[in-house]
């Protein structure tokens, strides 16, 4: 794969504490520009050409760094130590009961009160990519062990943004990392109801009123069947009790071909916007893909004076199943000393002329 990526950086703004926030911009041969912040390691903007070559920003973001910490909407943020939810904000590991931050009702969401999205990552350029490092101290969010995380962002000339995660811990601990980018392939101004989605999954996790998985169900015969491409707006309108619980999709799909824990990413989903012709293809090494249709967007401060509304964007978050640590046989989501946590997810953005 050709990579003529160039990296530039500039101070983007300051937090109320006075800390400067730096934004790094990756640029490829087709003039695509991906900006990453050291704050939360967030994918802050992604300028990509449409069918006729015009660039638009296809991810949501706040106008200022302070909003990322104050609002915690997770716009493009790296999420950890545990992406998504842990029921009752507790789990048992090697016979020990642990209590973590109950920051969403009784449950933990996205790392707790002060997750990876709120911290500064140390950024360097290496191996043709942007390398972000963060050392999470023992007890952060209530989790055991000191965890050293390395995330590498790389942009290829074919429009692939690869996010490569690696972590080690000095004590056994559950770990589930993801990137929480909110995509709208049309760029600013319209919702995502007209986007066409495909997900390679025969099953999904049903949820309860607190959005905790209760068991898996077949996608066949209901709104969750994206095995053939379907417009999201239509599916949001299909009568379905699961969609009513979350005000839309906020569900984890059980991706096909998840034999054990493969390290090689395989294509699992595609998102197409007929209006701009942009198409996003998601590949991942992970077992689950959380589809979140921006159900709780309700006026968050966005770029260029925007106030984001419900369904203005959607997330395709690759990771382990939500609350997986409290499901049977949780070993695959536990990092033990001497073993590496690995996950690779690729978002490939291109243009398609026909459906």
């Amino acid at each position: 794969m050709t990579r003529s990526m160039q990296i530039s950086s500039a101070v983007w703004g300051r937090l109320p504490s006075g800390d400067a926030v730096t934004r790094y911009t990756l640029r490829n041969a087709q003039d695509m520009q991906v900006s990453i912040m050291d704050l939360g390691g967030a994918l802050q903007s992604w300028l990509a050409p449409d069918r006729s070559g015009r660039l638009a920003d296809i991810v949501l973001g706040h106008p200022e760094p302070a909003d990322y910490v104050a609002q915690r909407s997770f716009f493009g943020s790296l999420v950890g130590r545990w992406a998504n939810r842990i029921a009752g904000a507790s789990f048992t590991l090697d016979g020990m009961r642990y209590t973590v931050d109950p920051n969403e009702g009784e449950n933990l969401l996205h790392g707790g009160w002060h997750g990876f999205d709120c911290v500064f990552w140390e950024v360097t350029e290496a191996d043709g990519g942007l390398v972000l490092r963060y050392e999470s101290p023992e007890g952060e969010g209530g989790f055991p062990g000191k965890v050293a995380v390395t995330v590498c962002y790389r942009l290829d000339d074919d429009g692939t943004l690869t996010i490569d995660y690696d972590a080690i811990s000095d004590a056994p601990t559950p770990l589930n990392l993801t990137n929480h980018a909110f995509f709208n392939l049309s760029g600013p101004g319209t919702d995502i109801r007209g986007h066409i989605l495909t997900i390679d999954a025969d099953y999904f996790h049903e949820i309860d009123a607190a959005l905790i998985p209760t068991g898996i169900a077949e996608v066949a015969g209901n709104a969750f069947d994206f095995r053939t491409a379907a417009p999201i707006g239509t599916r949001l309108d299909w009568p379905n009790a699961q969609l009513e619980l979350a005000g839309g999709f906020d569900h984890c799909f059980v991706l096909r071909n998840n034999l054990g824990a493969p390290q090689t990413p395989r294509p699992v989903a595609s998102l197409y916007d007929p209006a701009s012709g942009r198409e996003l293809i998601v590949s991942t090494s992970e077992a689950g893909l959380q589809l979140y249709t921006g159900n709780y967007l309700n006026g968050q401060k966005g770029k260029a004076g925007a106030a984001y509304r419900k369904h203005d964007a959607l997330c395709l978050e690759a990771g382990a199943f939500p609350n997986r640590i409290n499901m049977p046989d949780p070993e695959e989501v536990i990092v033990r000393p001497g073993r590496h946590y690995r996950q690779v997810t690729q978002y490939r953005l291109g243009v398609r002329d026909d459906a």
């Binding site: 069918r51 007209g194 069947d225 417009p231 299909w238 007929p274 209006a275 012709g277 026909d354 459906a355």
Partner: protein, 396 residues
């Protein structure tokens, strides 16, 4: 073969001679395959919708195309579950009040077509619609959507409804359509309410010697593969969410067969894509020099102007103008002049009113022989042959 208890008898009332209806039926089929639900499907062997006796039909459910008012009337007091499929309407009262209704979103279809024409750089727009009839209320919905879209941008676009297609009036309607096209300010992007209508536009443009997509860019709706095989210029088209309409209708009926009821539920299905082909690949020159030059060539190209005069008019050196042309259009100024002459000659030949020699003079060709040479090189035929080709009765 005996019917198991779970096999429901379902009637599909569609006039499935059109790709739109066929794809909806395909969507219903896909839903059944994906769920392993078995329905005993009733539909006419010739895929036409016949309503005789439907009220006495002994079945469990119906999915029907409600674009036809006769269907609405026939199923008005149907005792079995019915899911309606059809056009979206601005006026709520146009929907059957008690039934679930799956609609193709006309506003979004038109927005996609309009957005595409804007994307390729057009600033003037028109719509080719259909004569008002109770069976194609969707065409009026598309007209209204067209007007709303343009009004929001402070624009106004002509709407031409034309005539309903009939063998006897065919030539005359095409001539009228050509006349309408000739009068439109160019370049113009024209949306057609269906691919079938878009094909008329292509034919009329050919007849009138109007260049597609340079002068008239065309986009239809339906993405009909059959229509595509009948046009010489490949037709761009908006792809309706027909399969999803079928899947959605089947899903609602499936739930209704198990006791759920959805009175007044309406689900709008957006388009799923655009097939962008040659008929809408309009490329406006970005450089104002090229634009001014082309404008000059359009006005004086047939009066024997040379590259030098074009450059003088634009106010740049000959070599830089050549460079702009090469970069943006991939050819020389001389070639652009020649293309213009050729286009005018073609349109004059299509009118049949002039001799080749006369046309050669009027278009600024230095000799009749030179015009013959240009025709052979660019079009692969002589002016005479071109004229013959235009004279052939048009197949419909």
């Amino acid at each position: 073969m005996s019917r198991t208890q779970t096999t429901h008898r379902i009637a599909l009332l569609f006039n499935a001679n059109k790709v739109y209806d066929r794809e909806i039926i395909a969507g219903i089929g896909h839903y059944l395959q994906s769920t392993r639900v078995v329905w005993d499907l009733f539909l006419e062997e010739d895929f036409r919708c016949r309503l005789t006796g439907i009220e006495r039909w002994d079945g469990d459910g119906i999915i029907a195309d409600f674009d036809d008012p006769a269907v609405c009337t026939a199923l008005h007091q149907c005792s079995v579950p019915v899911v309606a499929v059809g056009s979206s309407y601005r006026d709520e009262t146009q929907y059957p009040a008690e039934l679930p209704y799956i609609a193709t979103d006309n506003a979004k279809l038109m927005r996609l077509a309009y957005g595409h024409l804007i994307e390729v750089g057009l600033q003037q727009f028109a719509l080719y619609s259909l004569p008002v009839a109770p069976e194609n209320r969707w065409a009026q919905e598309r007209e209204a959507a067209f007007q709303t879209l343009l009004a929001a941008d402070g624009l106004h676009g002509a709407i031409y409804r034309g005539a309903s297609t009939s063998a006897l009036a065919w030539n005359e309607s095409l001539e009228r359509l050509s006349a309408w096209l000739l009068e439109l300010p160019k370049p113009v992007g024209i949306m057609a309410v269906t691919d079938a209508r878009a094909r008329h536009l292509l034919q009329a443009c050919l007849m009138a010697g109007i260049a597609v997509p340079e002068q008239v860019a065309i986009i239809g709706i339906d993405n009909d593969p059959l229509t595509r095989t009948l046009t010489r210029t490949p037709l761009s088209s908006v792809i309706q969410g027909t399969e999803e309409m079928g899947r959605t209708a089947a899903h609602l009926l499936h739930k209704m067969l198990h006791g759920a009821r959805f009175p007044g539920v309406r689900i709008l299905v957006p388009p799923v894509g655009i097939n962008v082909l040659a008929s809408s690949k309009h490329e406006p020159p970005a450089s104002p020099y090229v634009m001014r030059a082309r404008h000059f060539i359009r006005q004086y190209g047939c009066q024997g102007v040379k590259t030098e005069q074009v450059a003088d008019y634009v106010g740049v050196s000959r070599s830089s103008l050549e460079e702009y042309f090469r970069r943006e259009l991939g050819h020389t100024v001389h070639h652009e002049i020649l293309r213009h002459k050729l286009q005018i000659a073609q349109s004059l030949l299509a009118e049949h009113a002039h001799s080749s020699a006369e046309i050669a003079i009027r278009c600024g060709f230095t000799s009749l022989q030179y015009m013959y040479a240009v025709f052979r090189r660019e079009l692969g035929c002589t002016p005479k042959e071109y004229q013959e080709r235009m004279r052939q009765p048009t197949a419909s």
